[in-house]
Amino acid sequence: MSTPSSDTLVRIRGLHFRFGPRVIFDGADFAFERGKVTAVMGPSGIGKTTLLRIMGGQYKPDAGTVHVDGLDVPALSRRELFEYRKRLALMFQNGALLTDLNVFDNVAFPLREHTRLPESMIADLVLMKLEAVGLRGARDLFPEECSGGMQRRIAFARAVALDPMMVMYDEPFTGQDPMNLGVLARLVRKLNDALGTTSVIVSHDVAETLDISDYVYLISDGKVAAEGTPEQIRASGEGSIRQFLKGEADGPVPFHVQAPEFKADIMGEAA
């Protein structure tokens, strides 16, 4: 486990969380460093998005502590939570763009909601953010007129509109063609370094995520199965890590969800 230092922005200790009977986290620990790109990886449905929502205060953990920049996130009041959220950004898997606003107004949305800047300055800031993601020319389009890759880039621009202390990316590369995927990956790294922010990426796209990350957590069975630099993760001989990195269907992480014996199920003999 990495040792939390004074440069640690996010400290999560002994995280327990469940949806009904389904255990998502069973004592997981994380420490995300300031100014770094940290990846949280694992198979689909393992709880990566849930982790981001816990960090964002949308879900409260059943047990454990979640501290971000010294704030005890689950203990924040609604007003404090909204103040805290002004300093972070979550980029949703589907972009979560507001469909009744065009590209320009989507990126301007957090600026108009949280600042009293004159419209001319907001326009300058929005154009700067759109220029950074290469979509200045698409300012008048509506989200439904944009491709999936463009929507992610618009969501990028909106996420960094207020220059947040931390940006959380939820599966930013899913469903993208190779060209878009490369563009998005470089954008995450470039924005992180240019803005001096902290980035947390949850993803199961192995190659791209490892390429741009400074530190990687691999989660399995509600716990941190492995962590380290991308080089350490790549060099690991541990079974579940190899299985995940190589994309093997079966291994320490079973392909099949636990079920009665197949023949008994087919013959209608299963209880």
């Binding site: 964002g56 949308q58 909204f82 103040e83 805290y84 959220r85 002004k86 972070l88 950004a89 979550l90 949703f92 898997q93 589907n94 979560a96 763009l97 507001l98 469909t99 949305f109 957090p110 909601e113 949280h114």
Partner: protein, 257 residues
């Protein structure tokens, strides 16, 4: 028995949740009023865009009332009272009730579907993560717009039903009732109280429809069937609530008349 208890508990839980949500919406109203542009946009969406259906329906309801009323009144030689018949039925009952039923189908369902779809596509979660309260930014302006639009739409409905394209067209132009009698009888016998009661009814119906629509939309399951259920429940519950409330309000308003 067990099933019945579950149904009752489920109903009470839903009533409690919707009441708390209603309180949250009312608390957000002052903040929303400070941003009139958002309200104007929603008045256009739920009010102005509902006008065609209200105008057409009002005209046809007025025509039918005139036809039916004339057939009955003429037997008693009282066809000159056709205007007041159409006016009282419209202002007291059909104006608020039919407008509310149409409003629930046209605007209520659209509100629930729009907010439900925003839930399903993470737009509401996205706002929360951007430190923007969706109840203030999305729900309250729509609620206020519905609240303001419904009485105005009911007034337009009544005017259309009584006026040149409705009861007047059939009664005066087609059936030959004297135009002076048509209007003077309305003027003499429709009291301010009748109009006021109609306004009160339409305000109550508008509030209930918007409450139901934003509640079901906001709490829709984030699936296609969840949005569909929110829309369906809005129309069904709004319609039943309008009819039940109409009975209760009428009983109180015209007690002793």
């Amino acid at each position: 028995m067990r099933h019945l208890i579950d149904v009752i508990v489920g109903f009470l839980r839903g009533a409690g949740r919707s009441t708390i949500f209603f309180g949250a919406v009312l608390a957000a109203v002052p903040v929303a009023l400070a941003r009139p542009r958002l309200i104007v946009q929603q008045v256009y969406a739920v009010g102005v865009l509902s006008m065609v259906i209200i105008v057409v329906s009002g005209s046809f309801v007025g025509m039918v009332l005139a036809l039916q009323g004339y057939r009955t009144l003429v037997d008693f030689g009282a066809e000159e009272s056709l205007g007041v018949f159409v006016a009282l039925v419209t202002v007291r009952e059909l104006g608020p009730v039919v407008t509310a039923l149409l409003f629930a189908g046209r605007a209520g369902s659209a509100l629930a579907a729009e907010i439900g779809l925003m839930r399903a596509t993470d737009q509401l979660s996205g706002m929360e993560m951007m430190a923007v309260d969706p109840v203030r930014r999305v729900v309250a302006p729509r609620f206020i717009a519905g609240f303001l639009s419904m009485p105005l739409l009911a007034a337009i409905f009544s005017v259309m039903a009584i006026g040149w394209a409705g009861g007047h067209l059939i009664g005066v132009q087609l059936l030959g009732v004297d135009a002076g009698s048509y209007w003077s009888q309305i003027h003499a016998q429709v009291e301010f109280r009748d109009v006021w009661n109609g306004v009160v009814k339409s305000v109550v119906f508008g509030t209930v429809i918007c409450w139901i629509a934003v509640y079901y939309g906001y709490h829709a399951l984030p699936t296609s069937s969840g949005v569909s259920d929110a829309t369906k429940n809005t129309v069904v519950l709004s319609s039943l609530s309008i009819l039940a409330l109409d009975f209760v309000l009428t009983a109180f308003m015209f007690e002793g008349v």
